[in-house]
Structures are given as structure tokens and as C-alpha cells.
């Protein structure tokens, strides 16, 4: 299909139309310097079109911070009921980095054991992507996520007047959404603007000193580096970097028995490998007791272990981890320092 152009007013109209059909969530401004969050849309005018990243990524709609997995009843006839909550949802205003983040989670939650709680919620999502406003922490270009050509119904890119957006349609559902919305074909000038705009985004200032595809091999030379300790010295082990990351998917499972001791539920809650208790096992042993080990583990997960396992990195370069980190532990800074200290050769395996 040829590229279409719609106005901001039409975008708001589209949102109003979608809100009539069901639940729509969109970025909203929060108090404080450059803070946004996905929230339920109650007025189409509240949806923020231009922003950098939300505090928590869109993953919270498929993998909520707290979720009931099953409910049980004790007594004469004990019973267990699995709980899977899901509902149709339109996610408006998702950036390319976050679209990639969702595809990374899709892979992980479908692997080995299909996670119904995640996959059912995800299957009922329709997504309208939007081009972002990069800041000094973004490095999506280094992770290959500055552009993406699937995972959305519609994708919107602002034209220089910021009153009109180019619309790319990514699915039949996207076509369906546009029905009844006034749009016109993009001009040749507008199409070429789209290309130059994307080029600007992919030459962003913060970047890795290596091609991301080389990271798993490079990391084989980083295991014993003193660089980890240096950065970990100022780390709190607060897990903010895990919880705000679009590609982190760890959770803890707890049973919560009701006070009457007759019913209860099993829940999962977000967990993170930077937290002290993460690698503690039932005997009390903790496999990664200190913050240096945990920081190193987190980086190896993102740029080596999961990369090797799934053939793609578990970092989308969104920069949330460092943006929200009070002591500014920055993936680009850490990785470039490792490269500077240990070279690009990687260690010989075996």
C-alpha cells in the first residue's frame, strides 16, 4: 500500500474511534523532568505524541508487575484453578525500541513452555507505533532497533510541520483501523523526508564501539575484567535497571494463603538479577552474592547468553536502565570501556 498522510486531528479522531470499541492505552506526561508513562486513555487529547521513553515499557500490559497464576481451595475437596486474564487492548504510541522489546519477550515467553498468561494478553493487543524523540541516553541505532518493519498495525512518523504524520500500515488490522479516517497519499517529497529522518536517527551520538552482532564473541573476553567491579562499586543493587527494561522478563513466584487458611493464590511478581535475593536458593546459598557478580551477570544475559540462545540481543538500546539509574550505570559506557580495556578480539574458546 502507498504511504498515507494524516493530521494530528485525525490521529485524535482515530483514538476516539478506538476508545469507543474498547480499552486504549497511550503515553501520558508525568510530573518531573521528561517523565512519561503508558496509562489508560480517557480523553484522546491526553495521548502524548512526542516523547522519549516511558518509565516502564509496554511490557507491563502483557507481563504485569503482579499477576495471579492460580487460585486454590483447601478442605474436603481441594481444588486448583488456573487464572489467565486477558482483554483486547490497543497500545498507542510505541517506539521502535519498544516494539523490538516486545518481540524479544514474545520469543522468550514462547520458548520451552508456552506461557499462556503472557501469550494470551499479547495476542489480544493491537499496536500503533510512533516515531520517537531520542535523548542523550538512546542507543537503539547501535542495537539495530532504530527502525523496525513489523510488530505494529500502524506506524506514525511526524512530518516537519509536526501537524501531519506519515502512516505505514503493518497489518490487516491496521487497514481496518484507518477506515473512516481521512488521509491522503504521501507526496514524493514526504517519502524522501521519511528516509532522511531515519538516517538522522541511526547516526545518533551515543553508540557502541562495536557492531552489536559481535557482542557475544567479544563478551567471552570480558568475564574476568576489573571493569565490572569499578562500575559495581557505585551500584545499589536496586533492580531499577531490570524492572524498567523492555527485554527483562524474570519473575518470582509466591503462594499467598488467605487468613482463613482455606483459600489462597499463587502469584508471580517481577524480579531482577540485580537484586540480592535473586540467586538465593532454598538452602540459603546465594550464587551471586555481591553486586559485581550481579552486574556482570546482567550484562552477559543481555549481550551474550540470550543473544546466543535466541539469535538476537536482549537489549533494544532504549536507555531506560541508565535514565532511571540514580548512579548512571550506562550500558554503552560499560561496554565501550570493556572494549577499550580488552580489545575487540574476544577470548579464544576452549
Amino acid at each position: 500500500m502507498t504511504l498515507q498522510v494524516i493530521s494530528v486531528a485525525e490521529i485524535r479522531g482515530l483514538l476516539a474511534q478506538l476508545m469507543e470499541q474498547g480499552r486504549v492505552v497511550a503515553p501520558h506526561k508525568r510530573p518531573g523532568d521528561r517523565q512519561w508513562a503508558f496509562e489508560d486513555l480517557t480523553d484522546p487529547a491526553d495521548a502524548v505524541l512526542q516523547y522519549t521513553t516511558t518509565i516502564i515499557p509496554a511490557k507491563k500490559y502483557a507481563f504485569p508487575p503482579k499477576e495471579t497464576l492460580l487460585r486454590y481451595e483447601l478442605g474436603q475437596a481441594p481444588s486448583v484453578t488456573a487464572v489467565v486474564d486477558s482483554e483486547p487492548l490497543v497500545l498507542f504510541g510505541v517506539h521502535t525500541c519498544d516494539l523490538y522489546g516486545l518481540t524479544a519477550l514474545d520469543t522468550a515467553f514462547a520458548d520451552h513452555f508456552a506461557d499462556a498468561n503472557y501469550l494470551e494478553k499479547r495476542a489480544k493487543m493491537r499496536i500503533i507505533g510512533i516515531e520517537c524523540v531520542p535523548d542523550e541516553w538512546c542507543f537503539c541505532a547501535s542495537m539495530g532497533t532504530a527502525t523496525i518493519d513489523s510488530g505494529y498495525e500502524l506506524f506514525l512518523t511526524p512530518l516537519p510541520d509536526e501537524e501531519h504524520y506519515i502512516v505505514e500500515v503493518g497489518s490487516d488490522a491496521g487497514d481496518e483501523m484507518l477506515k473512516g479516517i481521512a488521509s491522503r497519499e504521501a507526496t514524493a517529497g514526504e517519502v524522501s523526508y521519511l528516509k532522511t529522518h531515519l538516517n538522522r536517527k541511526i547516526t545518533q551520538e551515543r553508540h557502541l564501539d562495536s557492531d552489536y552482532t559481535a557482542l557475544p564473541l567479544l563478551f567471552t573476553g570480558f568475564a574476568e575484567s576489573p571493569v565490572w567491579e569499578k562500575w559495581a562499586e557505585k551500584c545499589y543493587g536496586c533492580g531499577t535497571c531490570n524492572l524498567t527494561c523492555p527485554t527483562c522478563f524474570c519473575w518470582d513466584v509466591l503462594d499467598e494463603m488467605g487468613l482463613a487458611l482455606t483459600t489462597g493464590e499463587r502469584r508471580r511478581e517481577w524480579d531482577g538479577c540485580m537484586l540480592e535475593g535473586f540467586a538465593r536458593v532454598a538452602t540459603g546459598e546465594n550464587f551471586r552474592e555481591n553486586r559485581t557478580e550481579r552486574l556482570r551477570h546482567r550484562f552477559f544475559r543481555k549481550y551474550a547468553y540470550l543473544f546466543t540462545r535466541y539469535g538476537k540481543p536482549y537489549c533494544c538500546g532504549c536507555g531506560r536502565c541508565v535514565r532511571q539509574c540514580l548512579v548512571k550505570i550506562d550500558p554503552v559506557g560499560v561496554i565501550n570501556e570493556l572494549i577499550a580495556a580488552h580489545g575487540k578480539g574476544g577470548a579464544l574458546i576452549g
Binding site: R30, P31, G32, D33, Q35, A37, I55, I56, K60, P65, K66, E233, K234, C235, Y236, G237, C238, G239, T240, L243, T244, E256, M257, L259, A260, L261, E269, W270, G272, L275, E276, G277, R280, R291, Q324, L326, V327
Partner: protein, 245 residues
């Protein structure tokens, strides 16, 4: 038979034992699990036998020391509740001064007749079985703890800091709103209630097991606090803690 419970108060505002009364929705369920036999906030009985002793307040007089030792003898499980009992909380601020000076400041000439010693947590005087932190205690945490003790399970406290609960709620970090917070070094469990309402955490639940205090002093200074103000943030609820310089 239901375990019997007694509640005692030492030096503090008794807010923590009051918080038990405020567990309105769960109170009846709790009373199905345990039998209350002594509690001056709520009843006139003064039982001398009980399985579980809940204690709020710091130990700060010779009389307190004697009494808490007796309680320890009489109960099977001793559970301090609230910051005052858990880590001496605000009360420990007086320990910075000589006891003579403290008495004079508060009571003037009449001070001499008061019995006061440096404030300390219950655990500094007698062995304890578990402690609930917070000023005041978190009601949900309290009822879960009672349930777990009745089931013979070790109750659990989060080992992670407030920031975890804060992020799960997607709060804007108060540091990004020009305020200060002890959340990164403070034990979670209150649901990050202060940052959720836009205030910095004061650290009332005490430190996590392995707080990065140096990092936090630097952070507070970087966001604009003077060295003295940094120490005030650390001292407010945690001055008893001997990890402080």
C-alpha cells in the same frame, strides 16, 4: 488451641500497637487465628502466660530492660514491631548526647529523678524471633506475619530496597522532582508509600542487608545536599545502626 498473644509497649508513641487495631478488615480473621490475652490499648486483662509477645517501643530505661527480660522468659516467640523496637528508630537520636544533657533539655531541673539509658532495639537486650520494621508497621505485613507464625512458617521480609516497589508502581523517582529519598538503601515492604505520595522515603524500615551507603551519600550530595544534610537523612531512622561512621 489457638496461640495466645500479648502486646506490650515500651518507649515509643504506641502507634504500632494502634496499627493492629487499624487492621479493621482483617482483625476478625486474625482473632480467629490467635487469642489476645493482654494488650493495654484494647483490653483490661493482664495475662501472665502467652505464646507470642508483640512489643513496640525502644528499650530506654532500666525498668524497660527488666521488663523485656521477663517477657522473654514468659513467651515462646518474641516479635518486636515497629522501628522503635526493631532498630531503636527515632529514639536513638538521643544517644548522640550524654544522658545528663538529654534529661536536662527535656525536663530541666526535674530531670535528675528520671531513669534513662541510651535507647536500643529489643534485640540488643534479649534474643528475638522476628522483627517487623517500619514507623509504623505495615498492616498487611503484620497480618501475614501473624498468619505465618501460626502456620509455623518463617515470615518473610523483602530483601530488596524500596526502589523495587516504587518502580513496580511506575512512580516518577522523587530525585527527578527535586526531592531526596532513602529508598535505594531502605528495605521494601511498605509499598513505597512515601514516594507514591510524592515524598522521599525517610528510611523508617531500616537498611537492606547490604546497603551501598557510600553510593547513596554520593548520590544525595550530587543532587545537592550538604554533608550535614546527608548525615541527617541517614540518621533520621537509622542512627542506632553501627554501620554508620
Amino acid at each position: 488451641m489457638k496461640p495466645t498473644v500479648a502486646v506490650f509497649s515500651f518507649t515509643g508513641c504506641e502507634g504500632c500497637s494502634l496499627a493492629i487495631l487499624e487492621c479493621e478488615n482483617e482483625l476478625l480473621d486474625v482473632l480467629n487465628l490467635v487469642q489476645l490475652v493482654r494488650w493495654r490499648e484494647a483490653m483490661t486483662e493482664t495475662a501472665q502466660e502467652f505464646d507470642i509477645a508483640l512489643v513496640d517501643g525502644s528499650i530506654s530505661t532500666h525498668h524497660d530492660v527488666k521488663k523485656v527480660k521477663q517477657i522473654r522468659e514468659l513467651c515462646k516467640l518474641l516479635v518486636p514491631i515497629g522501628a522503635c523496637a526493631h532498630n531503636a528508630g527515632l529514639n536513638a537520636l538521643k544517644n548522640r548526647y550524654g544522658m545528663g544533657q538529654v534529661k536536662e533539655t527535656v525536663y530541666g531541673d526535674a530531670g535528675a529523678q528520671f531513669d534513662t539509658i541510651p535507647a536500643c532495639p529489643v534485640s540488643a537486650v534479649v534474643p528475638i524471633d522476628f522483627a517487623l520494621p517500619g514507623c509504623p508497621i505495615d498492616r498487611g505485613e503484620f497480618v501475614r506475619t501473624v498468619r505465618d507464625l501460626c502456620l509455623g512458617k518463617t515470615p518473610r521480609l523483602p530483601t530488596y530496597p524500596i526502589c523495587v516497589e516504587c518502580k513496580k508502581k511506575e512512580n516518577v523517582c522523587v530525585f527527578f522532582q527535586g526531592k531526596f529519598c532513602m529508598g535505594p538503601v531502605t528495605r521494601a515492604g511498605c509499598g513505597a508509600i512515601c514516594p507514591t505520595y510524592g515524598d522521599g522515603c525517610e528510611g523508617c524500615r531500616g537498611f537492606v542487608d547490604d546497603p551501598n551507603q557510600n553510593a547513596h551519600k554520593e548520590t544525595l550530595a550530587e543532587y545537592g545536599l550538604t554533608a550535614r544534610e546527608v548525615m541527617q537523612h541517614f540518621d533520621m531512622f537509622n542512627s542506632y545502626d553501627d554501620r554508620l561512621p
